[in-house]
Subunit: 364 residues, 2 copies
């Protein structure tokens, strides 16, 4: 049994309670499977600010750099809304992404047959939906300098800089093409090449990677980001893999997530480059946020966090079979009619966060 | 009868054929109502490029500056996809917006009861939907300088600049609050204040306008742009007026438009400031694009263009009653079951672009 380090950063709101459920799966794996995990824990976001006056300490950052995988809950809450720029909870998450160089954010948007009616879209539009959004996560307008107030041609203005180097586009495009190869072999690249210079550059660079990277088995199409948003609502099943920049990825992945109607079920992975030892830094987090209104009441759905752990098994630990087991257990629990409140519907059985975790273990 | 100048810029694809239908309404108004229009016409987009080598001539620009209102069809087509930056069809539209200083883009997203089933969303989610998106249209990342390739800290990178001055935010916020006052008195302001400095500045400035501008009868809320995109899919009827920047407005208004399921029905208005004579520059255009695949076949739906003309009557000519007449005529035609192909459904009568125009005139 190999010993892997998992860093848990539960964060704020429902973060801690959904992270707790992962511990049950880790325990189960320790006993039943060929791998054990050494779990470390630290604070992030508002919780870190309350304890240490910063949304992420250097010590926690170190732990993250040295972990085999980071499990991240959620950050934010109304009590932190008026903190300064550097103290805001999101700054902790953005520092992790940037310093760990987690440039590829994988956001699957998948519908579960048992939860189809939770979608606001007609069932035939979203049944069987399986999109993978690959969002660039460490560049673009999220990190570009300069930013802030400045004088420009005699006027005071506020700016952000949308910035991409060639390398920053190449590496995330490669991730998208590689993923598409294991799926339906289609990549749609979304930008605003009709308006933005970085959009033109993005489109050109992705086309070069496609051509020179030996990806001619993959079908590449370009779609304007506004049209992509429309098409996600009109006919989402036309997409396989979507690759896009940090900001468009933020919006498009949220639209795609909401199509499924079950935000509480959606995981994500943020991956770094593979190093010379075949390892990559990685952070896994549910797509849902900290939901402060229901925190601490046992109402949160732990599935997105559990499925994020399944992504960790697949992408960080090469334990695809175990990932499959966890995903199948989640499906099985749904088909028994057990539901947390967010996905509750008539005729189903309402259970708590921890009962949901137990139910997954029972299926395993 | 006053004499007003209308400049028609039909552009590419289905632009010309939908503009032709507006002429019928103008003729009707000339005969039956207290106003006559002097129609001028010029080229824009690919059509202008083909004729003059530029997507908008200075002469056409002059005509637009001097018209009482501009009616814009659509631009773009596959044959123009590989033109250079300055020659691309969109450059004509962007020049019109910038030089006419059309800073407030009004994009209503309204569902028509007769077309409810065209939406991919469940009828109960979108029935009665009536959102007004107010998009800033002359600043932000669409026009910010510097842009393009540059060296930065020893690396070559491509940038765009997201830029806002205080005034640019103030004036569009005022438009949003003023519109909300005539509607349901709620404004949601969308940005990424958790990530972007311009987002923080936007949020602060909108709050100042709300407080100092005497708008305490209007309820203001802030929503992160990604969450706004989600909420549009989850529960769009929670919104009344949404005010947002140029780029977020581009995506969010397209999501909102697609919720209605009938893009061929949606108009938009782009307005400048009111000058000392009480006049404002204005351009009206349908939300749908040039649809080159169906151009010239009589399949296009002229309703969005006709309803854009209705917006012109309301916002440029203070002819709210006549605008109402056109809008009611459009509704009436729908309830007789007449449909162009884009909104066709079982049991309805399929008619052509020009038959649809005639049907509206018949109702008038
Ligand atoms: C919390 C926030 C900084 C973050 C983002 O904007 O990237 C979130 O919306 C996400 O999508 O992970
Ligand atoms: C044609 C294009 C330049 C334009 C934009 O991006 O603003 C269009 O998408 C729109 O929304 O009017």
């Amino acid at each position: 049994a190999s010993n892997k380090t998992l860093l848990m950063l539960p964060g704020d709101g429902i973060g801690p309670e959904v992270c707790d459920e992962v511990r049950k799966v880790v325990d189960w794996m320790d006993k039943r499977r060929a791998v054990t995990f050494d779990i470390k824990e630290d604070k992030v976001g508002g919780a870190a600010y309350d304890a240490y006056g910063t949304p992420l300490t250097d010590d926690a950052m170190d732990k993250a750099q040295n972990a085999d995988a980071v499990l991240f809950g959620a950050v934010g809450g109304p009590q932190y809304d008026n903190l300064g720029w550097d103290a805001r909870p999101e700054a902790g998450l953005l520092r992790l992404r940037k310093e760990m160089d987690l440039f590829a954010n994988l956001r699957p948007a998948v519908t579960f047959d048992a939860l189809l009616e939770a979608s606001t879209l007609k069932p035939e539009v979203v049944q069987g939906l399986d999109i993978m959004i690959v969002r660039e996560l460490t560049a673009g307008v999220y990190f570009g300098e300069p930013r802030g107030m400045q004088m420009w041609e005699g006027k005071e203005r506020c700016i952000d800089t949308q910035s991409y180097t060639r390398d920053e586009i190449v590496r995330v495009a490669e991730v998208a093409f590689d993923l598409a190869r294991k799926r339906n072999k289609r990549v749609a690249s979304a930008e605003k090449a009709n308006v933005m210079k970085t959009g033109v550059f993005w489109r050109q660079t992705v086309a070069e990677v496609h051509k020179d990277g030996g990806y001619d088995d993959i079908e590449l199409s370009n779609v304007l980001a506004d049209n992509c948003a429309m098409q996600l609502v009109r006919n989402p099943k036309q997409f396989d893999v979507i690759v896009t920049d940090n900001l468009f990825g933020d919006l498009l992945s949220d639209v795609a997530a909401m199509l499924t109607g079950s935000l509480g079920m959606l995981p994500s992975a943020s991956l770094g480059a593979v190093d010379e030892f075949g390892r990559r830094k990685a952070l896994y987090e549910p797509v849902h946020g900290s939901a402060p209104d229901i925190a601490g009441q046992g109402k949160a759905n732990p599935m997105a966090m559990l499925l994020s752990f399944a992504m960790a098994l697949r992408y960080s630990f090469d334990l695809g079979d175990d990932a499959d087991l966890v995903e199948q257990a989640a499906q099985a629990v749904l088909s028994t009619g057990k539901r947390t409140l967010d996905i509750m519907s008539a005729g189903c059985e309402a259970i708590s966060t921890s009962q949901m975790g137990d139910a997954v273990i029972a299926e395993l």
